[in-house]
Symmetry: C2
Subunit: 213 residues, 2 copies
DNA sequence: TCAAAAGTGTTAACCGTACACCCATGC
DNA sequence: GCATGGGTGTACGGTTAACACTTTTGA
């Protein structure tokens, strides 16, 4: 085993990811069950150590690929966590990201690190390792803010979607119902979407399908 | 010299600070002239290495004290910089902060690290080391956003101030003039300030002095 | 008396919010 | 024919933005 030696103590640096999806009008987050101490049996955010040749953004993207088999998800850093004792083993500085994937693409690749990964409803989180509950709370707040400023909602939707679908995603993230007419007016005013001309059939009354503009 | 050895490479971690003040209606930032390679003679942000027993917030506060002799300034992290080659010597991850101090308190303590520190107008920045120009640009944007949401402007003002003074600070940070009547109405509506009853005398027509509510 | 900064209101446009009914379809 | 979700407009209140003149003082 090689050794890396420095004149001063250096912390380990990781990127941890709050990976969200919306399924059945419910905001869910990907967690991994820990098989080792500390916090054996608790759930933790996916993430891992920064490598020598990558940025934190690249690290987060790589971990998402390795631990959940997902590439190309929307990824955004939102805070850094640095309390000296947040990991009882040794010092770890964590750059926290949130990531988004649509329900259609959220099937987890089995094998490798992903075997103990599961989606958990944000309304019923299990026992969490380290300070991951704090991180998740801040992630949700960051996501809510971002969604009202920038067109990130599409990362949580299939490529074509109805206005009701997009509304359900906002409601799931914000955790509160929204007025249908006002929501439609405001989302159309933003010019983030356009009509496809196709209708979604097979349920009740067909609904117009939209796509990202 | 002690040696700290790890099984994997670890980056150095620093906190760097974009330390702003407003003087003569001009937004200025504290920079330190580098006496060593790399970037000898260029200017750099104050900052330094994270110690074993402190958070990044504490590190930023300590560096501000050591390098500029200022304590209790408003401090806020806004981004992390992690490009592998952003420091040509070895890998450094930097948590970037912005800090604010009022013109009245911005005299630099001489001695120690501060000897080569100077305030520079944001409208005429010198040659900067590393990726510090990027960091400064992002800091200004973060500061502008924060000032319109939270009462941080007081960190850039003396304890008592006129409405014109507070307006000049906003104009300096945002880099654009503001309408006097609208500005006064909106700042009074926020209820961040109250009248002192005292007038500022000695110039032209006396102005009401306000203080933080 | 003049130069300089302090102080003061009104109007119009825009935006957010509240709110209820008819329509098209599948069963 | 009925249950289900799709689709639509208006009115009110609050906020923002534009805009010009009088007052007070020091020199």
């Amino acid at each position: 085993m090689p050794q890396f030696c420095y004149d001063y103590a250096r912390p380990a640096v990781t990127a941890d990811i709050c990976f969200f999806t919306v399924v059945e009008d419910d905001l869910r987050i990907l967690l991994i069950r820990r098989g080792e101490e500390p916090f054996k049996g608790s759930w933790a955010l996916p993430g891992g150590f920064l490598r020598e040749d990558e940025t934190l953004d690249e690290c987060a993207a790589r971990e998402l690929e390795e631990e959940a088999g997902i590439s190309g998800a929307y990824l955004q850093a939102f805070a850094t966590f640095s309390k000296p004792d947040r990991d009882p083993r040794y010092r770890v500085i964590t750059a926290a990201y949130f990531a988004l994937v649509s329900a259609a693409n959220h099937v987890l690749k089995s094998g490798s690190d992903a075997d103990d990964a599961e989606w958990h409803s944000m309304s019923r989180l299990p026992r969490l390792a380290f300070d991951h509950r704090d991180i998740i709370e801040q992630a949700r707040a960051a996501l809510t803010g971002k969604m009202n400023l920038e067109p990130v909602v599409f990362a949580l939707l299939p490529s074509r979607f109805t206005l009701t679908q997009i509304q359900k995603v906002y409601e799931a993230v914000e955790g509160q119902p929204l007025d249908k007419r006002n929501f439609r007016r405001s989302v159309l005013a933003k010019e983030w979407i356009r009509e496809t001309g196709e209708l979604e059939r097979g349920h009740r009354r067909p609904a117009m399908l939209y796509e990202r503009a």
